[in-house]
């Protein structure tokens, strides 16, 4: 618990970014030294930058790194572009649109040699980034990344007879590990409940339909831009095994690491454990970490003690 009166060191601003010739007002939050290596952090489908709030306040990481987390257009505080009649069409994300947005944002913020990190849709897009823009980032961290993640482009996620506020959240409930603390799992769901109508489903068009690298992994230039595929043990959409196969398919420059006892929203479902895992990955990028990364990182490896599974609801003895 923070003390009364604590003001967190996160700052939020808006930057105007031209994407496909259209002006977008993009919200981003940041913390860390201005001359620190930027880490551009991408939220998951239908969510917003608040998923990264515990990385933005990690004292150790923000001592060296300028952590930046943005809201994609139509998400969080990035309102739809005011010059477009966006209400006349379904929002639908594609790999092309997604990569153009990320590169335009990195350019607008004048980021030099940034590290890119994203989870879920933000993890998958590392393959397109390493294919189409291998010289824009110094390294790519694909959390919950796979060559193919079918089956989640579901009509019920945007349907007038379904409470999509809750459904879009709790369809993701089991993507998190039971070992993750209840309060942070619930907060992740709360963030999902903030999504605009149809946006989660529209992002999933990219995630489950548009994105398919099963026969194109040879095009992913991880030899030019190191690629870390880092998947949680409880991620049933892109398993650690999927991550391993994807990295093997890419070849030189791609490394797969499994994160034990965590799921598909590592940065928000269990921030303490994820931030400790991330320090190992960052250490490998900078060369400060001795030896190769293990194929599996465990809580013991990074000195994190797990909480017992959720607050027990003991029944009164009658």
């Amino acid at each position: 618990m923070a003390e009364q009166g604590t003001i967190e060191p996160i700052t939020g601003k808006y930057v105007h970014v031209e994407i496909g010739g259209v002006d977008h007002r993009i919200y981003f939050e940041e913390n860390g030294p201005e001359d620190g290596t930027p880490i551009l952090c991408q939220h998951t489908a239908g969510n917003n930058c608040q998923e990264w709030r515990h990385l933005l306040t990690d004292e150790e990481i923000t001592e060296d790194y300028r952590v930046i987390a943005h809201d994609l257009p139509y998400h969080g505080k990035s309102v739809p572009p005011t010059s477009q009649s966006w209400w006349e069409e379904d929002y639908k994300m594609t790999g092309k649109q997604f990569t153009e947005t990320l590169v335009a944002l990195a350019d607008a913020l004048e980021l030099e040699d940034p590290i890119y990190m994203g989870s879920s849709m933000g993890g998958n897009i590392t393959l397109e980034l390493a294919d189409w823009y291998p010289d824009r980032f110094q390294a790519l961290i694909g959390l919950e990344c796979g060559a193919h993640s079918p089956g989640f482009y579901i009509d019920w996620l945007d349907h007038p007879e379904v409470n999509t506020t809750e459904v879009n959240a709790y369809s993701c409930w089991g993507l998190m590990a039971p070992q993750s603390p209840e309060e942070t799992r619930r907060e992740t769901m709360y963030l999902y409940e903030q999504g605009a109508n149809g946006v989660f489903k529209g992002d999933l068009y990219y995630y489950s339909v548009d994105h398919d690298y099963r026969d194109k992994l040879d095009q992913v230039k991880a030899d030019e831009c190191p690629l870390y595929i880092v998947n949680g043990e409880y991620d049933y959409l892109t398993t650690p095994e999927d991550g391993k196969e994807t990295a093997e398919g890419v070849g030189d420059g791609a490394v797969a690491v499994e994160m034990a006892q965590i799921g598909h929203f590592p940065m928000s479902e269990h921030p303490e454990l994820f931030n400790a895992y991330l320090k190992e990955i960052l250490g490998d990028i900078t060369g400060d970490r001795e030896g190769d990364l293990p194929s599996v990182l465990t809580p013991d490896d990074v000195g994190i003690e797990l909480h017992p599974p959720a607050p027990a609801r003991e029944k009164s003895a009658e």
Binding site: G174, A177, A312
Partner: protein, 142 residues
């Protein structure tokens, strides 16, 4: 640990109490959950009759006189994994388990059956009711 045998009459009675004393089943609209669902464990089927977010009755072997909107099917081993205090990956929640069966064609998981629209209309209270099988089985947890 609940010392009654999993899915025995006593076990289900304890489950009913667990659901009916769960605060989350009575908030956020979950008190409108009135669709019956079945749980099929191997060859055995149990009908969970729901009214306003509470379990009214649990009937073994439902038949022609009974109604349900949807159900969950799996072998006993998958269910025993599901109700463990810390369940193993992919049998730790219903959508996870269903996905590994339906999309990835793997064995050893649970499948949702029935009216998909009603499943999604009631997703959270249904999911919570299933998760409460774990709470009932372990006398706590979530």
């Amino acid at each position: 640990m609940n010392d009654t045998e999993f899915a025995s009459h006593e076990w289900w009675e304890n489950y009913k109490e667990t659901v009916n004393s769960d605060p989350e089943m009575q908030v956020r609209g979950h008190d409108k959950f009135s669709d019956n669902f079945y749980v099929e464990i191997g060859e055995e089927r149990f009908l969970i009759q729901m009214q306003n977010g509470t379990v009214q009755e649990i009937l073994p072997n439902p038949a022609l006189n009974n109604r349900w909107s949807f159900g969950v099917e799996g072998d006993r081993e998958a269910w025993e994994e599901f109700v463990q205090e810390t369940p193993p990956a992919f049998n730790h929640e219903i959508v996870a388990s269903h996905y590994r069966s339906a999309v990835r064609n793997e064995d050893g998981h649970l499948m949702m059956r029935g009216d998909n629209k009603k499943i999604f209309q009631n997703l959270r209270p249904f999911q919570r009711a299933l998760d409460l099988m774990r709470v009932a089985n372990n006398n706590g947890g979530s």
